[in-house]
């Protein structure tokens, strides 16, 4: 959504949540907040709106998501950066409010064969579903994630894990650390691009690590990247 429209939409968010629930009381209502500096403002709006879940992008570090009382909103977290991947075990173990993790980055929605390959690989890792951005992707993903398409039972994980497929070119591993470390802090956009590419390269190993409990790759290069979205809860935050 355009940034200049967000303040107005935050004000109408409670009415939107009410309208959805009145139209269909069984509906699970989520709000996808924005990453970075927008998060506190979105967070404040969500408190008033009272959805069932928050969808939080670019999560890199999870602080106290245990939650108490009325503020126990479910959290579905998008882990999209190398730093987030590095902290994945801690993010996943942050509390029982974290009901889903979504891993990955960008979709080339026109490349359905690639989508199918990614979905099958993610399913083999134990992922349970995927995000998509175009109707043509639905059939491919439903087929890949349907239980009858699998010969065995999916591996158990404490939370649902979805795979957000990526189609970015991969940076050669040997040259990646130097390129990341040499980037200037002001070149955030370039760092983001590098980060997304690096994530694409390391995601498979990380998913294996997460599922098997054995750290198979070193992710020190991720520490060179600036933080995206550390979840620091305010006093009335639903994240608390």
């Amino acid at each position: 959504m355009p940034a200049d429209q967000r303040p107005g939409v935050r004000e109408t968010l409670p009415a939107s949540v009410r309208a959805l629930r009145e139209a269909n009381p069984a509906l699970h209502v989520l709000v996808r907040v924005n990453a970075g500096e927008e998060l506190p403002d979105d967070d404040e709006a969500v408190v008033d709106a009272g959805p069932d879940s928050l969808l939080v992008p670019k999560v890199e570090e999870m602080l106290d998501a245990a939650g108490q009382g009325a503020a126990r909103v479910e959290l579905q977290l998008l882990v999209e950066t190398p730093r987030g991947i590095l902290n994945l075990p801690e993010i996943a173990a942050a509390g029982d409010r974290v009901v889903a993790l979504m891993l990955g980055s960008l979709v080339n929605f026109g490349d359905l064969p690639a989508l199918q390959r990614d979905a099958e690989r993610a399913r083999a890792f134990g992922c349970l579903g995927a995000l998509c951005i175009h109707p043509t992707q639905v059939e491919v993903l439903n087929r890949a994630y349907s239980p009858k398409a699998n010969s065995g039972a999916p591996r158990r994980s404490p939370i649902a894990v979805a795979w957000w497929t990526h189609r970015w070119p991969v940076v050669p591993c040997a040259s990646s650390p130097a390129r990341v470390a040499g980037s200037t802090p002001g070149d955030r956009q370039a760092l983001d691009r590098v980060g997304v590419r690096l994530e694409g390269q390391y995601l498979a190993a990380t998913a294996t690590w997460s599922m098997n409990g054995s750290k198979s790759e070193a992710f020190t290069l991720a520490k060179a990247l600036p933080p995206h979205n550390v979840l620091r809860a305010s006093a009335k935050s639903p994240l608390r």
């Binding site: 959504m1 939409v9 579903g129 999916p154 158990r156 649902a160």
Partner: protein, 44 residues
């Protein structure tokens, strides 16, 4: 063949469809709620 060994919550999440709707389009909310989806995500 056993198809599922996870918890009921995992199964529910696996089968759940979530439809993303930009929150600045209130005219779409009724249509989204009636679409048969299990969940609607209001995108800020």
């Amino acid at each position: 063949m056993k198809l599922w060994t996870g918890s009921a919550r995992e199964a529910a999440l696996c089968r759940r469809t979530q439809l993303l709707v930009t929150a600045n389009k209130p005219a779409f909310l009724g249509e989204a709620a009636a679409s048969g989806t299990d969940a609607v995500i209001l995108d800020l």
